[in-house]
Subunit: 658 residues, 2 copies
């Protein structure tokens, strides 16, 4: 073992571990050898041409845990070529963003043959992840040592290893120095300033930076609503004029912020290069299974699964199941209202401070029950979506998000709709809204960050004790660091974080004219949310792989849909308010017609505004047009050269004929 | 003159005239020489490398009309290279569609070095138009002979000649044989069958073929509505159930047909290759003017015009003007209603068959006035949009279409809205709808095809008389043909044809539940419309340049908007019907709430359906994905080759170090 180590060291003096591969404890020797050989093998032999090194204690002592942990790195040149393969976009010397190619490397800003910081560590890790996942079987029929783990030409080896449980996980390493710096400027100091989004992006990648960017943007966007909401609460303004003004402001404001976000997002992702990144052809997701067939797009052998079968599963099983869950959720809601009535009766009988407290109990219980149901439903939705067997990760994600969104929406807002439009009880609506909002915020903060943080702390202590080390975090050796990180939880993506913001947006906008204070609570929550999410990313979870992305995807649509629904609910609420009803004492019909008219005008205005506000700022549009123009020009120059050559021959011939 | 002729003939034995250039009668000799020299010059010298030949009588006699008419053609090789420049997409031997390149020409279906039909005549003409328009000034400061016609490097020469009145027009030649064949299969025989869309596309290009495709599709799509509408009219079904059924069917049907059209359109334009065609960089439109500056996208010198100035013109002049016109139009409408009342009073007083006839007079007058106002407004809109000075032809077109659409919509439908929702007079609504629909259809058919056809016939006769020829159409010499064609009207694009269909769609869908027979009239009109439009294209107008297009553009949006508005109007009409009112005798409030609820559900269903129905059929999606995949693969292969080479060097170096 020692020889190969030193061989590595000689070969690549700057071996920098980037990604950790953890194989199962009982992995056979031949499998390990085959895998490392495949990873190290030359590109032309179908390998990944990366560097692999088994993890060992610094003092050369025996490892008492899992011995099958490998570190993966790559030479600087290999990384640069990988950057070209994944289509990374970097800034050039003339400040424009261009797709990186090895041959044009000298035109890029900060590039130098010995500047190993040209690619950020998370970019290097993304490249290595891409190369590992694209390490494909050649003529192997199975994974050596595991006859049941079938392979066929073109099958991703890493994915087969994962589905067969041989590969437990592979994850990128934290960079302790960088992380410390990031923590310091991000959340260690208590200060009012913007988040260091560019640094977050360098360390965690675009998807996560974009989430924090959206969180920050959204918080700032809520501030005007919160500021206007406070006097409404303090002075109990309930005049008709001010009421309508506040709601109208909210409705138009929510359209504006969503449109302007697209522009901010485009500006950010242009700076990060992901706006220009070309989409790669999507491979089937790891969990996808089917009989071996020919993919009509690639013409390659891969599992195929009938689209009709999938449609049947979706419409005959998933859809009824989701409807059943929605019904169940409505049923629980009705129980809640019975409880509420009981509490009210009790309070009226006794009128003590205890009975007054009891009034809040049903709401709190209901909020807790909702949280529990949400979590159970999530498992079911994930199971069902896996079972639907979508070929692409994106389509899997969209179906999952749709299922979860609908259920969460109903769960959170059905009771409020019921109170508002069936019971017509504005006082109860306001109270329920406040209770639901605040309870769910507290629960979320607790469940999401503080509880796992406490668990993690306890766990880390245990590990450190086992290692008999009283050193500080930053003094941990690589061996200890990896052993600690591999036990950390895996960050499952930004889904839950966006969902939380989505529901919060619902609380703020759907019934904004009834409870103007909602925006205030949302702003306060988001400030602490920023800190707890930052803590979560830096302290609790393994470092996630960076994931390039150009926008927040389906969430933009979800937020826009919510803002359309909020126009309808707010108009209805205003129409039902006693102040407005007092204006039309005679004819309720006129009132309704006017409300409907106003609603339609507002909806039309929303659509016109969404149409008129360009999705990208003008300077970004010009930069994009410039890039497109340049590539067209390059093509044209090439064609003119060819044309000139061909026509020269022809003219020559023609002259000869004369 | 004779020598240069024979030189041409020797040089290119198959000179086929494709495009005609007509210069002003008094064009200076040096200008003509310079222009022909520039057109014939080699590509590398900045010329267009096309063939030019002055028009002369077959018998060599003197021309008594305009002598400055030139014929433009090109060698076959030049056309093939031009096809590559404009990015033409053709079918390959393996039935897939690919961008044509000269080097891969052998892989294309029907390609042979001597098969001059590989490119259709309209494709050749499009290529020549593209080359002529892209003939740009080099170091000329002005057009020789015209010091006032300034040029600067990169300015399109043809456009400068056009704006200075030196070039009167340039148009593609008709192909008498092909046209005869097309006429025969298109409309000469009276038969029930689909239109020969592929042949129309070959002769007139994609934009016009797509219009006829849409017209045909739309007519077929209206048939179910017409079939269901007839029994409603015949049996005077006005029960609540059937009423609602018909309207609901209409609403969902209109969504379905618009979504399915996108799929049909994608299938057609894939077959024609335009779905895959890359958009070229847009040059400023001919009428655009401004001070000379630097374009931020191309970095080239060209006129620039401040975007703020344009915005000011739009919002401070155009918008108020449009609003004024809309107000005027409403004012005229009110006068119409006064007249209508007068006629009604007269009828009630007299009750003769004359007074009965008089009842229709106001509607007819109003319809005629609307047509006249429309036409005046069109001139104003075109003037204003030119004055707004848009840089791009597409943005100019969009602003023009928007102005004209809004005015036409109000003009045609305001009176109907007034009758329906202010007067609540369903009988009058039905009668006005019928009168407006039928009058405007008859007027349009007359103004659009029959009247110009008659004018053209008379004009042709005069020309033929002047030429003292009693020959048939097909026996005309090239000289006579060109002299006849250059006097023909210019087809101004599909705008008016689409507008007519758009308004017809409005008549059919907005008030469908009141007048179910509208669809029947629309179907009948569209059948004759197909014939009169075909006649118009083949007989009345100059052949238009083919214009590649992948969809019907802004019209898709316009039709979709109309179908959203029709949900609102139909729901309101049903809510107002006496049958529905009879169900809720007590509470009008409940009725309105239910109608509003139904309307919201229908709107939501429309959006969900539009979202769920994919815009492209599955097989087209797969073909597009396959093309994208292939280009990605080609890129990757290139990169892997490069990577392998680079890494070979590195490994070599590494070994040396060991």
């Amino acid at each position: 073992m020692k020889e190969s180590w030193s061989a590595f060291d000689t070969f690549e003096p700057h071996f920098r571990p980037l990604v950790v591969i953890e194989l199962a404890k009982d992995t056979k020797e031949e499998t390990k050898e085959w895998l490392t050989q495949r990873i190290e093998d030359k590109k032309k032999n179908g390998g990944a041409q990366l560097l692999v090194k088994p993890l060992a204690k610094e003092d050369g002592g025996k490892i008492d845990g899992n011995e099958n942990i490998y570190l993966v790195g790559a030479s600087y040149l290999r990384l640069l070529l990988g950057a070209e393969t994944v289509g990374l976009v970097k800034e050039c010397n003339d400040n424009s963003m261009r797709t990186f190619t090895y041959s044009s490397r000298k035109t890029f800003k900060d590039f130098a043959e010995d500047n190993h910081n040209f690619l950020t560590m998370s970019e290097c890790q993304y490249i290595i992840k891409h190369e590992l996942e694209n390490l494909r079987a050649k003529d192997e029929k199975m994974i050596p040592g595991y006859p049941q783990a079938k392979l066929y030409p073109g099958k991703s080896i890493v994915r087969r290893l994962l589905t067969n449980g041989i590969l437990i996980q592979f994850f990128p390493l934290h960079d302790k120095e960088e992380l410390k710096k990031l923590r310091h400027i991000w959340y260690s100091r208590v200060k009012i300033s913007f988040q260091p989004l560019d640094e977050i992006r360098c360390y965690f990648g675009e998807t996560i930076a974009l989430y924090f960017g959206f969180l920050e943007y959204f918080t700032f966007a809520l501030v005007p609503m919160a500021l206007i909401g406070i006097p409404y609460y303090v002075f109990a303004w309930e005049d008709y004029d001010k009421y309508v003004m506040f709601a109208s402001f909210n409705l138009l404001w929510s359209t504006v912020i969503l449109e302007v976000w697209k522009r901010c997002c485009a500006r950010m992702t242009y700076r990060w290069g992901t706006l220009l990144m070309k989409r790669q052809f999507e491979e089937p997701r790891p969990g996808f299974h089917g009989v071996l067939g020919i993919n009509p797009v690639t013409g390659k052998e891969e599992p195929v699964y009938s689209s009709i079968k999938r449609q049947l599963r979706i419409y005959l099983v998933s859809l009824p199941f989701v409807c059943l869950c929605l019904y169940l959720s409505l049923y629980v809601m009705m129980i809640y209202f019975d409880m509420e009535q009981l509490a009210l009766d009790y309070h009226e009988e006794n009128e003590t401070s205890f009975s007054n407290l009891m009034l809040f109990v049903p709401s709190i219980i209901y909020a807790v029950v909702i949280e529990i149901m949400n979590r159970i439903y999530r498992y079911a939705a994930e199971f069902l979506t896996s079972w639907e067997n979508h070929r692409l990760e994106s389509s899997h994600q969209n179906h999952l998000i749709l299922k979860v969104l609908v259920f969460n929406f109903l769960n959170c807002f059905a009771s409020l709709f019921y109170i508002a439009f069936v019971l017509f009880d504005m006082k109860l609506l306001r109270q329920s809204l406040a209770t639901l909002l605040i309870t769910s915020q507290i629960l979320n903060q607790f469940a999401e960050a503080l509880f796992p943080y406490w668990l993690q702390k306890r766990h880390n202590k245990k590990i450190k004790k086992r290692m008999c080390a009283s050193k500080m975090d930053s003094d941990l050796s690589l061996f200890e660091q990896i052993n600690m990180e591999k036990e950390m939880g895996t960050y499952l993506g930004t889904f839950d974080d966006y969902l939380e913001l989505f529901l919060q947006f619902g609380y703020v906008s759907l019934f904004s004219c009834v409870y103007p204070l909602a925006a205030v609570f949302a702003v306060l929550n988001n400030i602490t949310e920023t800190y707890s999410d930052a803590l979560k990313m830096c302290k609790i979870f393994k470092r996630p792989f960076s994931e390039p992305t150009a926008n927040i995807g389906v969430w933009q649509l979800a937020f826009e849909t919510m803002s359309v629904i909020s126009v309808v609910t707010n108009c209805a609420l205003i129409g039902m308010s006693s102040q407005v009803n007092a204006i039309f004492p005679e004819s309720k019909t006129d009132l309704i017609l006017i409300v409907v008219l106003v609603e339609h005008i507002l909806l039309a205005m929303k659509f016109v505004m969404a149409f008129l506000i360009p999705d990208k700022p003008r300077d970004i549009q010009i930069k994009l047009a410039r890039l497109e123009f340049e590539s067209l020009e390059a093509l044209k120059r090439q064609q003119i050269k060819l044309a000139a050559e061909s026509l020269k021959d022809e003219t020559h011939e023609g002259k000869k004929r004369i």
